[in-house]
């Protein structure tokens, strides 16, 4: 016997950035919403913590931007491009605050507290938030069904619509017959730390040295999220008991001021060190069907190196919420605009991610020489850095030429 819930408009499965923001928006618009999240409480499961200005714009439209600011987001204003191909004192700095009107720079934030606040906001707007929902099972169709277990009890909901937002695990997608093609370019590791009192909190770093691509994203008050991307062949490098200290020690980098002392000598772990394959996912079947629509990573995503997964998730959610709050037609055809926009967007993001990964996440003398050449090209002609715009403005606002094979060829031409 299971407990049956009636009168539910939408069930959102997965309370990450995509799901929680959607539940908050739909509930605020008067729909009856149930949000199912499998974690008992929000923990640091190591997800994106750097959100692009264009993603923040999506959050504003969804009405969830305060969850970022209040949940500990810190606006980063500058990006200093330290890299082994340039002397520390000569690295150039980009002002990131002026790309999207009405939004400042990108933000760095503790992911789980922001999700928690969004879920709280959804609850305050009338949604039912079920933490610790186990074994969620979705059946698609004109009358979709969601079954799950909570505190040992079985539940059944027959909503009008299910939003699948379980992230890269693609649980709902698999249940409704959507499979993913994947490709892995490199691996990554992430750790949240405190104690960076001597690191300028306005400045982020993203660069490559030897066999690692490093990132420092300040979260204010001496806290930062550190990432290192490294070759798949080295994927054991941070495993084991000493992994965490090796990870921190690897921020001793000749290309940073003072060899990165402000990081490697000061960082105190604030959470787990998580290692993952940086995977790009391409859905092999339509992500919309009768009674079910997929959003966020569950709908496919670009390589994390680009740092646009969060922005994409919010864009997906916004598009889907617009359909669900905009009228009574919730049939697959009502989502055509979402599908078309997503297709266009993901093509651009995959294209850009390939360029960035090739440029920053390939290692060794040849790759360094390539980076040096590309940097010279960019210094010569600013237009060559067009791909970097994907971090700041939405894909449709990036000039077309940045997505042509001709451009990629020019950029990587091994001889000038």
């Amino acid at each position: 016997m299971s407990v049956e819930h009636t009168g539910v408009d939408v069930v959102v499965v997965g309370g990450g950035i995509a799901g929680a923001s959607g539940a908050a928006n739909l509930a605020a618009n008067g729909l009856s919403v149930v949000l199912l999240e499998k974690q008992e409480t929000y923990q640091d499961i190591v997800r994106g913590e750097w959100i692009a200005p264009w993603g923040l714009r999506e959050a504003q439209i969804l009405g969830v931007e305060d969850a970022f600011g209040v949940g500990g987001a810190w606006e980063i204003r500058e990006w200093t491009q330290w890299d082994e191909t340039v002397a520390p004192a000569e690295a150039e700095t980009v002002d990131m605050t002026r790309f999207v009107p009405g939004v400042g720079g990108p933000m760095s934030f503790p992911h789980h507290t922001v999700c928690e606040l969004m879920a709280e906001q959804a609850e305050e707007s009338g949604a039912t938030v079920v933490m610790g929902a186990q074994r969620a099972t979705v059946t698609a169709g004109l009358h979709p069904e969601v079954r799950y277990t909570h505190q040992g009890e079985d539940h059944l909901i027959r909503p009008r619509m299910v939003i699948g937002a379980t992230g890269r695990g693609c649980t709902v997608g698999r249940q409704v017959g959507v499979s993913m093609a994947t490709s892995v370019h490199h691996w990554g590791g992430g750790l949240r730390v405190s104690g960076l009192d001597d690191w300028p909190m306005d400045v982020q770093a993203m660069g490559t040295e030897d066999d690692k691509m490093f990132m420092v994203f300040p979260q204010g008050d001496g806290v930062a999220r550190l990432y290192i991307n490294f070759p798949t062949a080295n994927r054991e490098r941070y495993r084991g008991a000493e992994g965490m200290s090796r990870f921190i020690a690897d921020f001793e980098l000749a290309c940073l001021p003072d060899r990165g002392k402000a990081v490697y000598a000061a960082a105190e772990p604030l959470g787990p060190l998580k290692l993952w394959p940086s995977v790009a996912m391409f859905p092999e079947q339509p992500i919309v069907m009768d009674g079910v629509v997929l959003v966020g990573d569950e709908a496919g995503n670009a390589d994390t190196v680009l740092g646009t997964g969060l922005s994409c998730s919010l864009r997906d959610t916004r598009a889907v919420c617009e359909v669900l709050t905009g009228g009574d037609d919730w049939s697959p055809g009502a989502f055509d605009a979402y599908l078309a926009e997503r297709k266009f967007r993901m093509e651009r993001l995959h294209f850009g991610a390939d360029i960035i990964a090739k440029l920053h996440c390939e290692f060794g003398p040849e790759a360094a020489a390539r980076r040096r050449r590309v940097r010279a090209l960019m210094a010569d002609n600013f237009a060559a850095s067009v791909t970097g715009l994907l971090n700041m403005v939405p894909p449709e606002d990036v000039p077309d030429f940045g997505f042509s094979e001709f451009f990629a060829e020019r950029l990587f031409r091994e001889t000038v």
């Binding site: 931007e65 600011g69 810190w74 606006e75 400042g104 933000m107 879920a119 001496g222």
Partner: protein, 293 residues
């Protein structure tokens, strides 16, 4: 869904506003008044030790903060109105005389309460903020020193400006002090930021600072002043200079290794100072007003 940061036990409608408060323990009453942008929760480390030491602790959320009502008009935050909230709340609780303890704006309210209502005050303990007679003539140095003053230097500081870009300006002003991670959460609640800023708007606008406000009645209660050397907002002179406004006995304690938020940064020391002071002296003999026959 999450555990809320609250110890509140009750709420009462007094002086035209809902005031939420902690009422705990039995014995001589102690009223704890928080400042900007706190709530009763500022006193979380002091409440239980005071109760265990035999006091009845009353810790309200001042109007505009925490669980209390948040009128949106500036006029609702005049200092006298807030003093009257405390009078009305204590009356509601059947308390005629209490020890009054205040921090930050709460200290300013405590001072005013003490010189306007001498009969209702047993001992007075003020943290961080000195007597308004000293405070109303800040030196240039004091003005420049502080986030506290930033609000005066930018009289147009607006909700929008503070919230923009993920509350960036607010976070810069606050730095890593006090309950800095909790404040934006509290202030993001409907009407909360406007209410909190109204404290600054209703009181001590730059113009009113220029007005010389002489003639404060003396404070008759035994008074303890506490200031912390890590206070980036307020100078020590503000507190030590308060002595001349106190006719009762005056004690001054300087606390090291604490920011402006002394009750959070040195919780045990604050508790100890309060326990070593409250109720230890004879309360002020307040001259009865001569009645004309």
């Amino acid at each position: 869904m999450t555990t809320k940061d609250t110890l509140l036990t009750d709420s009462a409608h007094v002086n035209g506003v809902d005031i939420a408060y902690v009422d705990k323990g039995e014995g001589d009453p102690v009223v704890l008044l928080h400042g900007f942008p706190d709530s009763h929760y500022l006193w979380r480390h002091q409440i239980d030790p005071l109760v265990e030491a035999g006091f009845r602790v009353i810790a309200p959320d001042l109007r505009g903060f925490g669980g209390s009502g948040k009128p949106q008009e500036v006029e609702a935050y005049d200092m006298r109105t807030i003093v009257n909230d405390v009078v009305a709340l204590t009356q509601h609780l059947g308390i005629s005389k209490a020890h009054i303890v205040g921090h930050d704006w709460g200290a300013a309210i405590a001072w005013m309460y003490a010189f306007l209502m001498p009969r209702r005050v047993d001992h007075l303990a003020v943290l961080s903020v000195g007597h308004p007679g000293v405070f109303s003539t800040p030196s240039i140095e004091q003005r420049a020193a502080s986030w506290y003053m930033l609000f005066y230097q930018f009289p147009g500081v607006s909700e929008q400006l503070l919230r923009r870009n993920g509350w960036r300006l607010f976070k810069e002003i606050m730095g890593g002090e006090g309950d800095h991670q909790r404040y934006p959460r509290e202030l993001a609640k409907p009407g909360a930021l406007t209410a909190a800023l109204n404290y600054y708007r209703a009181n001590r606008s730059p113009e009113s600072e220029l007005r010389v406000e002489g003639n404060f009645p003396p404070v008759l209660a035994p008074t303890l002043g506490i200031w912390s050397s890590g206070d980036k907002a307020l100078l020590e002179e503000g507190m030590t200079g308060s002595a001349k406004f106190v006719k009762g006995s005056w004690r001054y304690e300087r606390v090291e290794d604490a920011s402006h938020w002394i009750p959070l940064d040195q919780p045990e020391q604050v508790t100890k100072l309060l326990l070593g002071f409250l109720g230890t002296e004879k309360a002020a003999a307040v001259p009865t007003r001569r009645r004309r026959l």
